[in-house]
Amino acid sequence: MAKKIIGIDLGTTNSAVAVMDKGELKILESHEGNRTTPSIAAYSKSGERLVGMSAKRQAVVNPKNTIFSVKRLIGRKFSDDEVKRDKDALPYEIRESSKGGVEVKMGDKWYTPEEVSAMILQKLKADAEARIGEKITDAVITVPAYFDDSQRQATKTAGEIAGLTVRRIINEPTAAALAYGLNSKKSEQVVVYDFGGGTFDVSVLEVDFDALGGDVKVLATGGDTHLGGDDFDARIIEHLVSEYKKQEGIDISKDPLALQRLKEAAERAKHELSTSMETEVNLPYITSDANGPKHFLLKLTRAKFEDLVRDLIDRSVALVQEAVTAPAPKGAGLAIADVDEIVLVGGQTRMPAIQEAVKKLFGKEPNKTINPDEVVALGAAAQGEIIAAKDDGRKTEGEVKDILLLDVTPLTLSLETLGGVATPMIQKNTTVPTSKTQVFSTAADNQTSVEIHIGQGERPMMADNKTLGRFILDGIPPSPRGIPQVEVTFDIDANGILNVSAKDKASGKSQSIHIEASTSLNKEEVERLKQEAAQHAAEDEKKRTLIEERNKAESVVYVAEKSIKENAEKIPAEVKTDIEEKIKKVHEVKEKDDVQAISAATQDLSAAMQKIGESLYNKDANKETGNEEKKEEGNTTNDTGTNNN
């Protein structure tokens, strides 16, 4: 079996793992069932080592032994400005290692950032192994494009400590571009706009396409490590607090419980405004004053939200512009028009206003179809598959699937049933070879033969489709309509040859027909038939409903006539006359085109027929026998009766 190489997006806050499975890239869920894992390790108060979600859940009460954001420290020197700055903001202890690097304290021991990252990677590896049910030895890990050699090397070391052979360290923006397959098209300039929870990164890439799969070069990077989706949440909270103050004169920002609820509500509102134009923040019993409990109810529109964060979006756009147009080394020195593709990464890019702003800047639609929280891990897995395929001397899985090309039926293949309806047997776009069997019945009493009329096309009426062939199955023993069982099988082989057979289950008699080239309509013909179907959809639907109503009417009339005949003596005369009149009415309207009239007449008849049952039961009750129930026959509507020959 081919070896799997996983892709790991080792993030500052959260990490994700993906793999190529059966030709598809997919995220591997954590043991806890989440698609991302917090990049946090801790030494709990009970002396247990915790990683991921469980480490996060005790962070508040165990800040000194809970290590987060270790990515900010990995591969750095203790004397770096960034370390100095972060040291004050991070609640755990940090010291200089003997080699001038950084060490963090967890429990009684000092660890290097590589060791802490390794703990996270170890959990990711173990969870991934549990998901795919096999041992994982190799991985591709992503790092920010601005990481220097020492930071990359340290990340690689972390992987090795975790028991992984790190086959490659790739840039996060490169991974995102890979996930969209941008390396396999042509040489082009790609901008990756990454708006995460806490940081904003922009990268300008140059993809050099060649037969070997393309080489990706980073031309420029930019961004702001203190601009992220969390700022958007904060703006909403600020707005809600100030609005509430205006309304009620109460400052809820001082109430920690209320503020916590507000935070959760703000995040939810932000998510909702990505898909709807308006949302309601509804927090009953948010606080209370001398007059009793107070509630919070406020509408927030998308337009208002966009107003609140406009400057943040504008700032990100300015940073993009700088990274693309500024001369090296600050930027890539390109013109905006030189950019061929834009890729959106990070949850905040789900916001429509951001997508619009990016689109406006570049004048083209950005790539945004892949989940922006997962695109980096998926791209790393794509790189992993490329390496695994090279190792095994095979093609990558996505390509392997395409070697054996299986055809599809371009149009629906149907059978004509009562009233000229085309009953689909094999739907269009079904992959062949395939077969389908369905049992049909007769439409009239004592019908001894059925015509099997095979057609091709999307129209609901057979007359509007193309006839492929027809044959007659006879020798069906005479019986009431709906009783005979005719089994019809449509079978298409790999060459598109259609074989239709019909068999009467009672007599065992069968007939069949071969139709060559059922799938070999030329392109124009297929298009024409599809277009016709679309054009006539409404009118066809009307026709189909009409026929269905007619069939239903016929069926009800049939049952009514049969009931009257069989119970002639037991039915009171007035009931009989009433039903006969209604049957007459159904016959009158049936051949006209008024669907509603047919439906109404049929319903009237059905209602009148209930009186038969009532009078029969009453009679039985009067007789006080009460033990012989007359079972109604033929009370099913058999609307799939084959065409009456």
Binding site: E32, G33, Q58, V60, V61, R268, P284, G292
Partner: protein, 166 residues
């Protein structure tokens, strides 16, 4: 004699061709058989995968709505706490809350146990504060917000206060 010599030569040539063709056929047969077996195996595996995906979808299909409904239960809790105990309003609200939770339980939602004295477990609880207490260090002293599980998956951990190391 000449003819006789020719015959074996001819059969040699044709048997060579036949052998070659046969060999080719054999190779193709193996290839096709392998492809066919793989296709069948792929389908069987796909069905298995699909089955577990379906199971998962059925089990967790309601996850998002159940999660969102937790906010309603929270509001009930806060509302109930503001009412006078044993008053009609208190009883009524408590019953409606119970009704809501019962419906959610029918879809697999289970409250997480976190009574005072239980040892804090970060897999199911989230500590929000450390407080002085007579309870042993690390024990839960108060459940601030109830946590819930859905078929064994923590939907929301119980938010708890825990006892400080004295």
């Amino acid at each position: 004699m000449e003819e006789k010599e020719h015959i074996p030569q001819e059969t040699d040539v044709s048997s060579d061709d036949t052998l070659k063709a046969l060999e080719e056929c054999g190779k193709q047969r193996d290839e096709y058989l392998d492809g066919w077996k793989r296709a069948k195996a792929d389908l069987i595996n796909y069905k298995k995968d699909e089955m577990s995906r379906m199971e998962h979808a059925v089990k967790f299909g309601n996850e998002a709505i159940l999660y969102d409904m937790l906010a309603v239960l929270d509001s009930f809790d806060i509302g109930i706490a503001t009412l006078e105990k044993n008053s009609d309003a208190h009883k009524g609200m408590t019953l409606i809350r119970m009704q809501c939770e019962d419906i959610m339980r029918r879809y697999g939602l289970m409250p997480i146990d976190a009574p005072p004295g239980t040892i804090f477990d970060p897999r199911r609880h989230e500590a929000i504060e450390e407080v002085s207490s007579d309870l042993p260090p690390g024990a839960i002293t108060e459940e601030v917000k109830r946590g819930y599980e859905l078929h064994g998956k923590v939907l929301r951990p119980s938010k708890v206060k825990i006892a400080k190391q004295s």
